[in-house]
Symmetry: C2
Subunit: 191 residues, 2 copies
């Protein structure tokens, strides 16, 4: 099928949106772009940590990495600033009806707790693909779960009861800053 130049792309985008074809990372990145363009917040995904073992230096600006490996991240994937405050979170998707804790490293959970204790706003964003629903769970509620449970996954119901659902919209796609506003008002994550 042929489309006039420019239209096809938008058409595909619309389909993608309707079908919820974007993954969580794409949704968050698009949302962060929107926040930055509109001077709302400045939040970035950190680069994937990579250990480099071999590099070919053709020229100074034209190095090619010939051997490297993925490293375990020391912190979470996303951080930045909103209303002067430090924001820090990890985002994960799951196809299951509970969120497997194997999906998040122990030192990442510890990192989020450090952030909270230092007066920052730390949380996780989890998307349950089966229900097409995305939740914020604050560090406080995450730590409560650990102190009250010894399970290897957090059930969907725990998110329903203790999390905040983020609705999917056209733009910004995943307006999680609204939830941060609620948290700031309630001082839920404050020292």
């Amino acid at each position: 099928m042929k489309y006039p130049a420019g239209l096809k792309k938008d058409y595909n985008k619309a389909i993608k949106y309707d079908n919820r074809g974007m993954n969580l990372e794409e949704d968050i990145n698009a949302t962060n772009d929107f926040y930055l363009q509109n001077n709302i917040a400045c939040i970035y995904k950190k680069p994937t940590p990579i250990g480099i073992s071999k590099v070919d230096y053709k020229s100074r600006s034209d190095a090619i990495i010939k051997e490297a490996y993925f490293k375990i991240p020391s912190t979470t994937d996303y951080n930045g600033i909103y209303k002067g405050k430090y924001i820090d979170f990890e985002a994960k998707e799951t196809t299951l009806t509970s969120f497997p804790l194997a999906n998040i490293h122990k030192h990442q959970i510890k990192h989020l707790d450090t952030i909270s204790k230092m007066g920052g706003i730390g949380f996780i964003i989890v998307r349950f693909m089966k229900y097409n629903e995305t939740y914020i769970l604050t560090n406080n509620k995450l730590q409560s779960f650990f102190s009250e449970n010894n399970r290897k996954s957090i059930p969907y119901e725990y998110f329903l009861k203790n999390g905040y659902k983020i609705d999917l919209k056209y733009s910004p796609r995943l307006d999680y800053i609204k939830i941060i506003d609620l948290l700031m008002e309630g001082n839920e994550n404050e020292e």
Copy 2:
């Protein structure tokens, strides 16, 4: 020469310290470790952004990257939290008597300005290797330089007059948080 176990390491460390053998990145990383261990601040260097073109998947956990390249960073190298506040900076060494602006990307300078405008604390740390001196220059002073000058480098004298010198100590090696305290008191970087 033989040393009792454990001693040699410390001896070498002492020599290294006396000779100022650590580079700026090592000094900052060691300082950030100290801040984290002592619950003072949580500041990390971001991983180097890398674009991956070929990966060998031997097994799920054992992927080897076979071709990749260095990408231009979208933000600065370091960010984190201190006293609830968002901190953001870039760190560079120079062997010259002025700091070449080619050493820092234009979008990094714009990023620092965005951070300042959003109420965060943005700055650069520059080490003049010739003088063995390290300075903090706040985003405000950096932007002033651009509005008042059309030069391709910032002279050492500008740092002397407008920057804050960070003394090199044993531990923490480069106690830049002291300067941040000054900046917070003076609201120099506040909205």
